[in-house]
Symmetry: C3
Subunit: 409 residues, 3 copies
C-alpha cells in the first residue's frame, strides 16, 4: 500500500503536463459509455461468481480499473509524439477510451489470478503489465501493420496469456480443488448480470474506434451476429459435453461472449453475415471445449490454474481472431496481415516469468492458502458471511447440527 | 436439440444471401442499444423472480432471444421485396432492431409458459410463433393501416395471447399451486433489476422506430409520463387491494410497466401530457386488478395458467392501447384505425391451438411435474441450490432438524 | 394515501396546460437516459444494502422519484415565465431532465431517513421539499449567480442537509443501534449494482446541462478523473482507518462516488487534469473520514441519525464543491462566485425543522420501532424473509437449534 501510495502521488504529479482537448463529442460519447459499463459492471459482476469472493471481485475490479486508467494515461502520454515535442500530452475522450481498453487488459489477467492475489499484488501486476501491453500493442499495430479494431489480439489474447503466465509462475498445489473455489446459487445469478451487460454492449466495444461510420455499423452488425451464433452454439455444446445433458452456467456466462472476442479483429472488415455467424459458431464451440477439457489440463499438466477460464473466453478466441483475420485477409490484402500471430507470443513469454517471481516476493503480503478465493482477509464482512457462503446441502447441514447437539447433551 | 441443430444450420446457410447495409448510424444506435438492454437484461431478470428457476429464466431468455433474432431475420428477409427482386436481403441496424422486436414477442409468450416447458419446447414455440407474428403484424400494419409505433398490439397483445393459448392447450392440474411457483426474498430483488431497466428504457422502445425526430421526442415524453402515472397508480391499487394493506412486489415489478405498453400504440401521436397521464393511470389500475382477480380466474375457469401474468402486463394493456388508439384517432382521422382491434383475435386463436398440441407431443422431452418452475432438470446447480431455494421459515427448519436428530439418537 | 390520492389527481388536472415541445433531441437523449439510469437503478439499488429493507429501498425509490418528477414538473411549470404569460407551460426533454434532478434531491434526503419513515411520510417529505428546493435553487443560481453545473450545491448539499434536519427533528433513541440496521453478504453486493451504475454514469450527470459541446466534454473528462482519483483514495483511506486493515464495503459503495459530487459545481470550468485529480483525492479522504468518525458523532451528539451516510457522500462533498468553486474562481472571476456558500445554510435550516414536526404528527402512520429498517410492515414478503434476512452466524444458528431440540425432548 505504501508503494502504491507513492505511485498514486506520481500519477498526480505527472498529470499537470496534460491539457484538455476541445473536440466535440456528440457521436463518440454513447459508445464510450457502453465500453465504460462493460469495464465496471460487466467485468466486475462477471467475476462475482465465486461464493466467498463477491466483495473482492467487484471492488478490486473497480480499484484496478481506476489505477490502470490513470497509469495507462500517463504511460501512453509520456510515449506520445505530443509529449516528445511539447513536453505535454492531451487528455480527451479518445484518451479515456484508450485507457478503458488498457484497463480491460489488466482485468482479463486478473480473471486468471482471481482469488489468488492480495489487492497490493494486483496493483503491482497492473503496474508492470500496462507498459508491457502498450509496448506490445505498438509493436503489433505499427511494426506489423495488424488491423485489430476490437483488440482481440492486443487486449484479449495478450491479457489472457499474461495472466496465465503469472498463474504458472505463482502456482501452488493449494490453488487447485480449493473448497472456496465454487459458486452458490445466487452468486451464479450475480455473474449473469455482468455477463449479459458484456453481451449487450460488446458491439460498442468492437465498434468504438472503427472509422468511418459505415465501418462502425459493420462492426456492430458483425459483432451482433457473431454473438448470436456463438450463444446458440454454446448452449448446444454445453449440453452435449455434460454428463447429465444439462447446461453449465460457467459456459453460459462466459462462452456466449467468445463470439465477441473472435470477431473483434475483423469486425470492421467487409464480410458477409454468413462469415460473422461462422466465426461465432467456431468461437462458441472452442470456448466450451476449452472449459470442459483444456482448463483442467492446463492446471494439472502445465501448472497454470485459471480461475475464470480466461484462456477459453479471451485467450483461444483471441488467437482464433488472428487466424480468422489471416483467412479473411487472403481475399484482398495478404501482405499486411501475414505475421499477425507470430508477434504475440515471444513478446509475452519473456515478460511473464519475471513478473510472476516479483509477485511471489515475500515483501508483499501473500494470500493465506486457506483464505484463497475468499473475501474475509481483505474486507469487513457481515455476520452472515460464513453461514451464507459455505457450500451447504441439507446433508452437510444436518450432520453439523447433530454434532453440535451431541456436544450439548 | 437435434431438431434445433438442424434449424441453426439452416439459419447459417440462409444468411449468405444478405449483404451489409452502409447507412450511417449515429442517431439510431443509442436507442437500439437501449432496446437491446431491455430484451436481454430487462426480460431476463424480470423472470428470475421464481425461487428455483433463476438460471433458466436468464439463460433460456438469452437462448430464445438469440434464436428468434436469427430466425426473424431470415423469415422477414425471405418475405422482403428485396429478396423477391434480387434473391438477396440486407441486414443492417434497422433489421437488427426489428429482430429485437420479434424477440420481444416470443419472450412475452415465454412469460406465460415460464417454468412449464423444456428449452427445446421453447425453441419450437419460437419456431412456429415467429412467422405467425410477422404475418399478423403485416396484416395489421398494411391491410388495416394501423399505426402501432411501440408495438403494443403486434408485439405485446399478440405475444401475451399466443402464450396464453399455448398455456391453455398445455394445461395440466399440476401446474397450479405448485410448491416451486413462488419467490424467495432475494429472487424478488433480482426481478426488480429487470423491471427497472425495462422501466428506464421503455421510452426508447416506443420511440425507436418513430419518425421524424419530433415524433420521436413526443414518443419519449408520452411514454415517460404514462409510466410515471402508471407507477403511482400501481402503488395505490396494490395497497388498496391487499388484505393487509401492504404492497405486493409482483405488482411493483410488473404493473408499473403497463403504462409503457398502453401508451405504445399512440406514443408518437400528438396529444396532451394529460392524456399520457390518463393512459398511465388506467393501465396501472387495470394491470393490478388483473393480477389480483383475473389471473386466478383465467387459471381456474379457463385453464390458462399464466406464470408471469403476461395478460396483465402485456395482454390487457395491449388491448387498452388499441382502444385508446381508437379513442384518440376520432379527433382527426377515424378511417385509418377503426378496425385495429378486430384483426388481432381471429388471427391468433386459430394458430394457437395447433401449437399447443405440437408442444405436447411426447417426442419432445416434457418437464416433469415435480420439477416445474425449477432449474434442476436442465442446469448444473451448485451444492446449496436445494438448501437456498426451498421456502424455509424458522418453523419448517426446526421441524426438519428435529426429525433428523430424532433419527440419530 | 388519501392525501396523496388527492395530490395525484391534482397533478393530472394541472397537466393539460402543458403542450409538447418539438425541438430535435438527437444529442441530448443519451445523457438524459444515463441520468435516468442513475436515478432509478443507481439510487434504488445503492439503498438495498440494508438486510431487511430491500423491497422498500428499490420500490419506495421508484414511487418517490415518480411522484417528485410529476410534482417538480408542475411546480416548476407554474413558476415559469411561460405560464405567467400564456397560462400554459411546456414539457419536453429539458423539463424531464430537470425533473430527474429534482428527484435526485428528494432521494438524497430519503437516504438520510432510510428505514425510518412510512411510504406516505416519504411522499409528504417530497411534497414539502420539492418547492423549497426549487426556491433555493432559483435563489442560488439567479440571485447569487452561482455556476453549479452538476448540482453539487443545489442538489447534493441541499438534499443531504434537508434530510439530516428531518432526521434530527424526527430523532428517537430506538433508531440507533437497531438490530435491523445492517447488511447481509448478498445485500452489500446488491448495493454495489447501484453504486457502480452511479459511478459509470456520473460524468453524464455532471455534463448533461453543460453548454456548449466543449464544456460538455470538459465536464465528462473532469468528472471521470475526479472519480478515478477519489476511488483510489477511498481504498487507501478505508484500509488505513480500519482496525483490522481491511476494506469496508460502506466506503467502497459510497465514498468512491464523492469525487463526482465534489467536482460537480466546477466540472465545466476550464481546469487542468491535475486539479480534477486533487478534487477527487480530497473528496475521497473527507468522505471516508466522515463515515468513520463524523456520522457516529452526528448521531450521538447532535441526534441526527444518517442511515445511508448522505452527509459523507452528498453533504460534505457538496460543501467542498462550493469551496473548490471559490478557490478555482479566484483565478479569473471572483465577483460572480464569492457568496456561493453562505446562501445554502440559512435557506435550509428554517424550512427543515417545521418539516420534521409535520412528519411526526400522529395522523400519519408511523413506523413501529421494532420494524424500522425492515420491509415487513409495508410489503408482502416471501416465506423465507425472516430466515434469510436476520443476521445468523453459525453460533446463533446452533444455539437456536439446540433450544428447539431441547424443547422437543
Amino acid at each position: 500500500m505504501v508503494l502504491f501510495g507513492l505511485f498514486a502521488k506520481y500519477d498526480v504529479n505527472a498529470m499537470p503536463k496534460g491539457s484538455e482537448d476541445a473536440v466535440p463529442m456528440a457521436s463518440k460519447y454513447p459508445m464510450f459509455q457502453d465500453t465504460h459499463v462493460m469495464i465496471f459492471i460487466g467485468f466486475g459482476f462477471l467475476m462475482t461468481f465465486l461464493k466467498r469472493y463477491g466483495f473482492s471481485a467487484v471492488s478490486v475490479n473497480l480499484l484496478l480499473a481506476c489505477f490502470t486508467i490513470e497509469w495507462g494515461l500517463i504511460v501512453r502520454g509520456l510515449l506520445s509524439h505530443e509529449f516528445a515535442q511539447d513536453g505535454k500530452f492531451s487528455i480527451g475522450l479518445d484518451q479515456l477510451l484508450t485507457a478503458d481498453f488498457a484497463a480491460a487488459v489488466i482485468l482479463i489477467s486478473m480473471g486468471a489470478m482471481l482469488g489468488k492475489l492480495s489487492p497490493v499484488q494486483y496493483l503491482i501486476m497492473a503496474l508492470i503489465e500496462t507498459p508491457v501491453a502498450i509496448f506490445v500493442e505498438h509493436h503489433v499495430v505499427h511494426t506489423f501493420h495488424v488491423n485489430d479494431v476490437g483488440g482481440s489480439i492486443v487486449v484479449h489474447a495478450f491479457g489472457a496469456y499474461f495472466g496465465l503466465a503469472c498463474s504458472k509462475a505463482f502456482a501452488s498445489s493449494g490453488q487447485r480443488e480449493h473448497e472456496n473455489e465454487g459458486s452458490v446459487y445466487h452468486s451464479d445469478i450475480y455473474a449473469m448480470i455482468g455477463a449479459i451487460f458484456l453481451w449487450v454492449f460488446w458491439p460498442s466495444f468492437n465498434a468504438a474506434v472503427a472509422e468511418p461510420a459505415d465501418a462502425r455499423q459493420r462492426a456492430v452488425c458483425n459483432t451482433f451476429l457473431s454473438l448470436v451464433a456463438c450463444t446458440i452454439t454454446t448452449f448446444l455444446f454445453s449440453q452435449a459435453t455434460d454428463h447429465h445433458k444439462k447446461f453449465d452456467m460457467v459456459h453460459i456466462a462466459n462462452s456466449t461472449l467468445a463470439g465477441g472476442v473472435t470477431i473483434g479483429t475483423t469486425a470492421n472488415v467487409v464480410l458477409h453475415p454468413l462469415h460473422a455467424l461462422i466465426v461465432g459458431v467456431v468461437a462458441g464451440a472452442v470456448s466450451v471445449i476449452g472449459y470442459k477439457y483444456i482448463t483442467p489440463l492446463l492446471s494439472s499438466k502445465l501448472g497454470a490454474h485459471d480461475t475464470c477460464g480466461v484462456n477459453n473466453l479471451h485467450g483461444m478466441p483471441g488467437v482464433l481472431a488472428g487466424i480468422f483475420s489471416a483467412i479473411f485477409v487472403l481475399a484482398y490484402d495478404p501482405a499486411a496481415y501475414g505475421s499477425s500471430l507470430n508477434v504475440i507470443y515471444p513478446a509475452m513469454k519473456s515478460a511473464d516469468n519475471a513478473e510472476g517471481f516479483i509477485l511471489r516476493l515475500k515483501i508483499f503480503n501473500q494470500v493465506r492458502e486457506k483464505e484463497m478465493y475468499a473475501d474475509g482477509d481483505y474486507f469487513e464482512t457481515p455476520a452472515d458471511y460464513d453461514f451464507t457462503t459455505r457450500v451447504r446441502t441439507f446433508g452437510q447441514f444436518q450432520s453439523l447440527q447433530v454434532v453440535s447437539v451431541a456436544d450439548y447433551f
